[in-house]
Symmetry: C2
Subunit: 387 residues, 2 copies
């Protein structure tokens, strides 16, 4: 049977999660340590910033041995370990693996970074030859299921956060040149920082971030080869060069006014202005200027609302896919021992009368179970008749 012990963002604060985290060498060391135990026939360690999970398969003792070894290895008292652990056994461990792999257990529902992390965790154990038949089947099926959800639904492709939506807007903006030049007004703010990080996560984008001068220092919070920091008061000097200008300050004043922008822009190329500030940062009249398009916060709010609806729909779809694949995986686990017992079963049933078997079945089962048997009998009969 498979077991999983999990310290996740759902149960434990980051300080506890850190204590149960594993560096790469530690993972290998701990896997080798567990592989030496008789009760344990398979081990996978999944460690991300949100969770430390150890999957083991083996006999009934596997999970208690794992707990003891973990307490020893991490130098934590066993009671302390148990306090923050979630333990899953058998089908609930399989269900948990599927949920985690498909991103249903993540902070951002349906995110697919976790899929890569599960694949890597499984691959490490596979390379170390510490996965048994059961774990091989289950991890492969969980990964396949997550891929199916990724391909067949838009769950992971439907962002809800404004920062992601703004970055997507920039990514989709078509322009002539090689490299998109983007100004982020208010880069040191929370929203400005997140947007900038999202932007530079893809190539082909150069960010000019404006920050304010405090006591002769510029607050520079992002250091990146494609991020240039300029002073807020000088923003108009750089604007003509920009393809996209994003403003996300907390202040009550316009950061871009019609008059100043008219004076700043020499060329009339196509430009996108994005205002995600509340109250607004950009004077709505700037749209009168040739080439300028303005997206305001309402636009993104609508996107978020629509995406929420899409996400809920896609979530239903993804859940159905997961349930199907999970059930199929459980079936494989349940059925597997019978493949080896087939000859034995054939011998036992050989020459037995269907009638006496059926009456026995009726007397031994409850009505729900009996219905399953009779439904199955009907199904087989039609199947045989169809030929």
């Amino acid at each position: 049977m498979m077991y999983c012990i999990s310290v996740s963002h759902k149960m434990a604060p980051v300080s506890v999660r850190e204590r149960f985290a594993f560096r790469e060498e530690e993972k290998k060391e701990f896997i080798e340590l567990l592989a030496g135990r008789e009760a344990i026939t398979g081990i996978v360690i999944l460690c991300t910033c949100n969770r430390s999970e150890i999957y083991v398969s083996g006999s009934k003792q596997a999970v208690s041995e794992l707990q003891k070894e973990l307490a020893d290895y991490k130098n934590v008292r066993l009671e302390e370990v148990l306090k923050y652990l979630n333990i899953y056994r058998g089908e609930s461990a399989i269900g948990h693996l599927f949920k985690v792999t498909c991103g249903f257990d993540s902070m951002v529902l349906g995110e697919d970074e976790i899929l890569g992390q599960v694949k890597e965790a499984y691959q490490m154990s596979k390379d170390m030859k510490t996965v048994d038949y059961e774990m091989n089947v289950l991890f492969q099926r969980a990964v396949t299921c997550a891929k199916r959800i990724k391909t067949d639904t838009n769950l992971s492709k439907t962002p809800l956060s404004i920062a992601t939506l703004v970055a997507n807007e920039v990514f989709h903006f078509k322009h002539g040149g090689d490299c998109k030049k983007v100004m982020v007004i208010g880069m040191s703010g929370k929203m400005g920082t997140t947007i900038t990080k999202n932007l530079v996560s893809k190539g082909g984008i150069e960010v000019t971030g404006t920050v304010r001068r405090h006591n002769d220092y510029l607050t520079v919070n992002i250091e990146h080869e494609r991020v240039k920091v300029v002073e807020y008061k000088d923003r108009y000097q750089y604007m003509d060069d920009m393809d996209i200008v994003i403003s996300a300050t907390l202040g009550p004043h316009y950061t871009v006014t019609y008059e100043d922008l008219c004076g700043a822009l020499a060329s009339k190329k196509k430009r996108l202005f994005i205002d995600v500030a509340v109250p607004v940062d950009m004077d709505a009249s700037i749209e009168k200027i040739d080439g300028v398009t303005l997206c305001d916060i309402d636009y993104f709010d609508t996107l978020t609302k629509n995406n929420t609806e899409i996400k809920l729909r896609e979530l239903d779809l993804a859940s159905a896919i997961m349930e199907e694949d999970l059930d199929s995986a459980i079936k494989e686990m349940v059925f597997h021992p019978y493949i080896h017992r087939m000859d034995e079963l054939k011998a036992a049933f050989s020459g037995k009368r269907l009638e006496s078997l059926l009456f026995r079945v009726r007397d031994q089962l409850n009505s729900e179970e009996l219905k399953v048997i009779l439904k199955t009998l009907d199904g087989l009969e039609s199947w045989i008749k169809e030929g």
Copy 2:
């Protein structure tokens, strides 16, 4: 399939229940009327003061035909009929029949008067030859189940009402003579009336009830050969003759005082005094008189409390019995068609490989169903090996 339409104390007020009530001749007439319909192959009408229920078996149309006929017969608009009806179909109709027959659907939980009423209703239809195989099996099994609960549990033998408990106390009182003489002080009150009715429901008890004189009339509310009515002010005159004296008035004064009782009792025989009034009717000092035992309301409150606990325990037991018998009845219904199909099934499965059947089963069923099949297979295998 069996269906049941029910107008019961749970759904409809007494005025509505009366409109759907059936006198004996009406029952016969309506049963004959329904028996003429093609869709209906079985009919039982159960009509008590708390419920009118019609059970029919037959095809899918049975229940809608029943509704139309009922509206016609009772001269009520169909919509009006539907408003107060509960309709049960298939397994839920079987479950309802069992609940009703076992007294689980009664006003007094677990009472067994209903069992006799179900038996009579079934017998009438049986005599009229309007019960089919399904109804025969189900009614017989429901009745058997209710009898089993009556025999194997104390559900119906555990009264909670003060009036019943008082009557039981009288019934259990041992004395020398042939006939117990019981005085009920305050016989015309609600409690006095109920107690008196309970008392005369058994033989060997004579009741002397005291009532007050209003405008030269005595309020006599019970006429019975074994109930004698006397005036309240004359009560002490009769007391020496009594074995048991019960007092249940609403007034604030003692109805039996120590001094007056001393004066009234000539013989010192064993006597039981029962005081169920709040505030108390009997002076506690009367226990000092030779032969007098006094039971007060606290005694009955304790009995009620204990009986409530017993009743809850017996209820669990009774529910378990009912679930078991109900499941068995449902199994019989589900399995019955297969008895006739046995040869056909044998022919279909003859020479088929267990292996291919099992793989087919695995691919067609979900994991829960597959587990039932495999568990059944295991069970049969052990049975064959043992046998």
